[in-house]
Each structure stands twice: as structure tokens, then as C-alpha cells.
């Protein structure tokens, strides 16, 4: 931990992530206005002390909308990450430990899903399921499960050859116990670092999907849909699109710095 904190970039990453989470959790306390309240007389106001990030075409406060928007983005990325992580690890370990036909079938299925560009598949799935937060979550779950599964499979195939696993098996542990107590923990730890990469990809993907109008329907604010509403007013009111983008940038940057830091701390040879 001390070693992790020695690098100022790691500290900065942690702070950025903390800020993003705080914005999501404490949105009602941080927001200065009601994110939904329409005040036509205040439309397209530039940033000021009253409206820190200006106002949009309906006179809504962009700062408050961006703060509330962080809730959706972070919620989707967290839930989809958890789903994909558990699903992927379960499938990957099953394939890696069972081997044979099970392994072959599961991995061919994963290959097929990986043959699609991730964002394209996510767009296709959430378009079919219909717009909304749930369909984006399901789409990202679908897209990322095979990615986790491949990594978990590779890791569990390595781990299962190690002596302590053989020892456990020789002592008569049942396969489920070996998987859960001996292989599992050693598969999960390297995946946690990769999870930070996938988490940041999910935030970007969620933003892209809701930018395209596949996410939470307006007037609910999300980073992506604020950006897309702002696109039409780039000339008159660029602040509507600039600020949510900066929020995405800084949260993703925070996650990436955090992930880099973990990697360097756990594997000091690299970096």
C-alpha cells in the first residue's frame, strides 16, 4: 500500500475515481439545481456562478445534469462489470478445469462473440432489446463475459498444473472444493487488474450507446445523452457538450491510473 501511494499518479487516479463515485452517490447534495427543471427564460446561458456549466436549450442547469448523469453511467458500468466478471470467471474456470468437449464448446462460443467488434455487438443487442438502462447493461454483460471467460480459462489452466492443486486433489478434495478454494482465488487476482481496463471501456461504451440514443430516454440525464443534446448547439452553446465529455474523460482516466498503479505495485518489473 505504501508502495502504491508513493507514485503521485496513483494517488491522482484514486482521487478522480473517488470524486466520480462521490458525484454519483451525493448527487442530490452536490447538484445546485433540479436537473429536470425547465426554465425557458434561462435557455443557453453560458457558464456563470449561478450555472457553473451553463444551461441547455430548455434552461436546465448543465452542472446538475452532469452530476446526476454520473449515477447512470457508473451504475451501469458497476453492475455490468460484476455480472460479466462472475459469469466470465464461472464459464472460464469450467472450461479450463473440465477440459475436453466442455472446454471446446464454451471457447468456440466465446470466439464467435469475440468475432464481433465489441461496440457493434453492444449496439446490435441493445437496439434489439429496446432503449433503456437495462438493455445497455445486458448488452455490456453479453459483450464482456467472453472476454473475462478467456482470461479466466487461461489463468485456471495455468493454476491447475501447480503443485498445491495436485496436493489438494491427492488429499481427496472434491473437484468443486478444489475449484472454489484453490484455483478460484488464484484466477481472480490477475483478473482484477484487467477488470479496471474493462470497467473504463464500459464507461466509454455506455456513453457511446446513450449518445446514440439507446440509453435512458430523455429527460433523464446521462453523460451520453447530454452530449448528444448539446451536439445540435455546438455553435451557440458548446459548454453543453464540453462538460459531460470532461467528466467522462476524468473518470475513465482515474480508473486507468488506478489500474496502472495496481499493475505496477503487484508486478514491479514492468512500468
Amino acid at each position: 500500500m505504501a508502495r502504491y501511494l508513493r507514485n503521485p499518479l496513483n494517488v491522482a487516479g484514486g482521487l478522480l475515481v473517488l470524486l466520480a463515485v462521490a458525484a454519483a452517490v451525493l448527487a442530490p447534495q452536490i447538484a445546485t439545481h433540479d436537473p429536470m427543471r425547465i426554465v425557458i427564460s434561462d435557455r443557453l446561458q453560458p457558464p456563470s456562478l449561478e450555472h457553473l456549466f451553463g444551461t441547455d436549450v430548455y434552461g436546465r442547469d448543465v452542472f446538475s445534469r452532469v452530476i446526476y448523469g454520473s449515477r447512470i453511467s457508473i451504475r451501469i458500468a458497476v453492475i455490468a462489470s460484476l455480472l460479466a466478471f462472475t459469469g466470465g470467471v464461472a464459464i472460464g474456470m469450467l472450461a479450463g478445469l473440465a477440459g475436453g468437449r466442455t472446454d471446446f464448446l464454451l471457447m468456440r462460443a466465446a470466439d464467435v462473440l469475440l468475432a464481433f467488434p465489441g461496440l457493434l455487438l453492444a449496439i446490435g443487442i441493445s437496439a434489439a432489446l429496446g432503449t433503456g438502462e437495462t438493455s445497455i447493461m445486458l448488452a455490456l454483460w453479453f459483450v464482456y463475459t467472453p472476454r473475462y471467460a478467456r482470461l479466466a480459462r487461461a489463468a485456471s489452466m495455468q493454476v491447475k498444473e501447480l503443485d498445491f492443486v495436485d496436493a489438494a486433489r491427492a488429499l481427496g478434495s472434491r473437484p468443486m472444493r478444489v475449484a472454489w478454494h484453490h484455483v478460484g482465488p488464484n484466477v481472480i487476482s490477475p483478473l482484477v487488474i484487467q477488470a479496471s481496463v474493462y470497467f473504463s471501456e464500459m464507461i466509454l461504451a455506455e456513453a457511446a450507446l446513450s449518445f446514440l440514443g439507446l440509453g435512458a430516454p430523455p429527460p433523464t440525464p446521462s453523460w451520453g445523452n447530454i452530449l448528444s443534446e448539446g451536439r445540435e448547439f455546438m455553435r451557440l452553446a458548446p459548454w453543453i457538450s464540453i462538460f459531460p465529455g470532461l467528466f467522462i474523460l476524468f473518470s475513465v482516466l482515474g480508473v486507468n491510473l488506478l489500474g496502472d498503479g495496481m499493475r505496477d505495485t503487484l508486478d514491479p518489473r514492468k512500468g
Binding site: 464467435v112 449496439i123 446490435g124 437496439a127 486507468n256
Partner: protein, 314 residues
């Protein structure tokens, strides 16, 4: 080498069948009656009936897939619900735009990413290295479509260098058309460059500490010769795979970026079709783009046969 290539190409067949199965399944994901979802609840019953027949909803699932696959092989992916035109033709018309954006973005990302990565590796732990590392992190943390908007703001609104609206088709006047591609390709290419910079730097550092590079150094060769002649080639080899995989990222990114810049590519087609619930178009576009990605992956694999003498694919 020919047999190696031929065998590898043959493995494409099951992959392509599986890809079309997944694209076909997309329709099955639609909750409720797809015909109602596409045409709306107040559509006349005859129209709904006709669409159900057209989509084959009245036939068993596997028969429907078999039929779909057979038509797809013959290049028939159905008819658009809104334009009464062949979906395959609509996608093919727009594919060149998307591919050009992706190819230009690939070139930009490789040129920028590799040069910055090499510079950072040579200047390891000096100021330049730190600046490059932060820049590349910012690049890969940035939503590419947002960066596109910032580029529009800077180079189309503040300094009106590139046009913001309109389009000249590629086959009418290639060079006039090209100016519409500059900003979108930069938006995709520069954000992706961050990724390649980091990989090049890491790969370069590994190679620079290898024995044969030390030998070259100790022979008294100039630093530049060592880096360019001895280290770079080896360091770039692992990047080939990444460039291939990145193409998938770009194909996904192009969907969004085409919307930002109103470029008439497949991405724009997909987004319009989604808004109109024109599902045959979405399905066909997804299939085509996935097929292209698969072909790019195949080419990447094959390039190793040519580039890396160690790979013999026994």
C-alpha cells in the same frame, strides 16, 4: 506457405456461419412480436401479416435460419422496411466510407503511436517520457466521439478550415471528398494512438534490454542505427496483432463518429435504421461489419507467416 494460408482461410467457413447465426439471433432478442415492434402497434393487420411472412416468423426457428443463411450466401439479406431496397446493396454502397475512415484512422494511430512510443522508450524516465505517458493515457481515456465534437468546435467553428455539413461522394471527386474524412479520422486515430504508444513503449523497452541489442551497442554502432535497424523491427512485431484487433475498435467507433460528423457510412445507416426500427438493415450491417473484422483478423494472422520467420504453423 500456400497450404498454411489455404488451411487458415478454410477455418473461416465455420466462423462465418456462426457469425451469421448470431446476427440472425439479434432478431430473436426483440421482446414481443418483432412485426409489431418494427411497424408499430397501429399498423394494418395485412401489413403485419406480410412482414411476418417476409421475416419467416410463421416457420420453425431452424428452418428460418437455414433460409436466412442460404439467402445470405447468395448476397440477399432481405429488404429494407422503409426504402423497399435490397439491404445488401444499401450496406455495400456505404461500406467504402466506413472503411476509408477506419483505414485512415489506423494509419494515423500507427504513425503517431509508434513514433511517440519509440521516443518515450528512448527517453525513458525523462521529462519527454512522462509527458508522452500522460498524453497517451488521456488519449485512451477520452471518448472518441467527444474528441470529434471538440475537433469540430476548433477546426470547423472557431477556425473554419474543414466543412461541417454536406458531403461529396468518394467516386465523384476523391480529393474533394477527402476533406470530410480528415476530422473523423483524426478523432478516431488520435484517441487510439494512446493505446499504441503505451504498447510500443513497453515492447521497445523490452527489446532494448535484449542481448543482441546490447551486442550491437557494444560494437560501437550509433544509437540511432541500433534503435532503427536492430530494435524497432522486433519491437513492432507484436503490434501487428494489436493493429488488427484495433480495427475492430475502429469499426465500432466509426458507427458513433459517423453520427457526429454526419458521414454517410454504415454506422450512420445502422443508427438511422435503429431509430426507424428497420431491423433487416441493422442485422445486415452488423453481419457485414463483423465479416470485415473477421477478414482483417485473418489477414493479421497471415501477416505473421510473412513477417515472422519463427511462425511456421505446423
Amino acid at each position: 506457405m500456400i497450404t498454411v494460408i489455404a488451411r487458415r482461410v478454410l477455418t473461416l467457413v465455420p466462423v462465418l456461419i456462426a457469425i451469421s447465426f448470431v446476427s440472425f439471433l439479434l432478431l430473436a432478442l426483440i421482446p414481443g412480436d418483432p412485426a409489431v415492434v418494427m411497424l408499430g402497434a397501429d399498423a394494418p393487420p395485412q401489413a403485419l401479416e406480410r412482414l411476418r411472412a417476409q421475416l419467416g416468423l410463421d416457420r420453425p426457428f431452424l428452418e428460418r435460419f437455414g433460409w436466412w443463411l442460404w439467402s445470405a450466401v447468395r448476397g440477399d439479406l432481405g429488404t429494407s422496411l422503409y426504402q423497399q431496397r435490397s439491404v445488401a446493396v444499401m450496406v455495400m454502397e456505404r461500406l467504402p466510407v466506413t472503411l476509408l475512415v477506419c483505414v485512415l484512422a489506423t494509419i494515423i494511430s500507427v504513425v503517431v503511436g509508434v513514433s511517440l512510443g519509440v521516443i518515450a522508450a528512448i527517453q525513458r524516465n525523462r521529462l519527454t517520457d512522462h509527458v508522452v505517458r500522460v498524453l497517451s493515457l488521456v488519449g485512451l481515456s477520452m471518448p472518441d466521439f467527444w474528441f470529434g465534437l471538440i475537433l469540430i468546435l476548433t477546426f470547423s467553428i472557431r477556425f473554419p478550415i474543414f466543412p461541417i455539413t454536406g458531403f461529396v461522394p468518394l467516386d465523384r471527386d476523391f480529393f474533394a471528398s477527402l476533406q470530410f474524412f480528415v476530422l473523423p479520422s483524426l478523432a478516431l486515430g488520435l484517441t487510439l494512438a494512446g493505446f499504441l504508444t503505451r504498447l510500443t513503449r513497453a515492447s521497445m523497452l523490452e527489446v532494448l534490454s535484449a542481448d543482441y541489442v546490447r551486442t550491437a551497442r557494444s560494437k560501437g554502432l550509433r544509437a540511432r542505427t541500433v534503435v532503427l535497424r536492430h530494435a524497432l523491427g522486433t519491437a513492432l512485431l507484436p503490434l501487428v496483432t494489436v493493429i488488427g484487433l484495433n480495427f475492430g475498435r475502429l469499426l465500432g467507433g466509426a458507427i458513433v463518429i459517423e453520427t457526429v460528423f454526419s458521414l454517410p457510412g454504415v454506422g450512420r445507416l445502422i443508427v438511422l435504421a435503429i431509430n426507424q426500427r428497420d431491423f433487416p438493415v441493422v442485422q445486415a450491417s452488423v453481419l457485414y461489419v463483423a465479416v470485415i473484422f473477421t477478414i482483417v483478423n485473418l489477414l493479421t494472422d497471415l501477416s505473421y507467416v510473412v513477417l515472422d520467420p519463427r511462425v511456421r504453423y505446423s
